[in-house]
Subunit: 93 residues, 2 copies
Amino acid sequence: MADVFKAISDETRRAILDELIERDEQTLFELCSRLAMRHAVTSSRQAVSQHLDVLEAAGLVRREKRGRYTFHTIDTRPLAQIAERWPITEAPQ
Amino acid sequence: MADVFKAISDETRRAILDELIERDEQTLFELCSRLAMRHAVTSSRQAVSQHLDVLEAAGLVRREKRGRYTFHTIDTRPLAQIAERWPITEAPQ
DNA sequence: AGTATAAGCAAGTAACCACTTGCCTATCAA
DNA sequence: TTGATAGGCAAGTGGTTACTTGCTTATACT
């Protein structure tokens, strides 16, 4: 789907995926503080939340609400279609 | 590079890559007519040329000028970094 | 030399998108 | 029940970007 390409076209969203690869099942606040500390992302909570909306629409992140916390889980499988669509050859074509 | 993600974030540019996968070494005019016929892309020559600029900056397309023709070649290798950055797992994480 | 074809350059425009701001809802603890 | 924490909703704004328009350059053909 086109959503996947749009999702990874933004630097902050790529940092979110990086952070979720390092540590999965994070809440919004956890993500915000760890993005600021480890990935030099200065976006506000609302901005990060909107990015997570985009990542969820692309199927790259799943949300699971427990109590007052919402945990975010990464799912890299939608990225497979990229390598399938344009197979990577060793030498330049 | 960030340019690769930006490059494939646009539907028309993805169609250009699709078309170059089908038939490599096309000129700008060839690309324009084949995009219109086979990929329902209605963009003008200048628009396609600007898209090729972006794809070239991302290293996904190389240009080779011979006489009055400029041939465009696809190089999918920059896409490999995507799968490397977020490895694809079979089951959801 | 003159014309046609292939393509580059550059400014202007309109739509999109990331981000902010302000307010609201829900859950939990004291 | 009151306050604090975690998060959602929605409108407005500024910057980016895809696209058009018009002009220019370069190569090839007659």
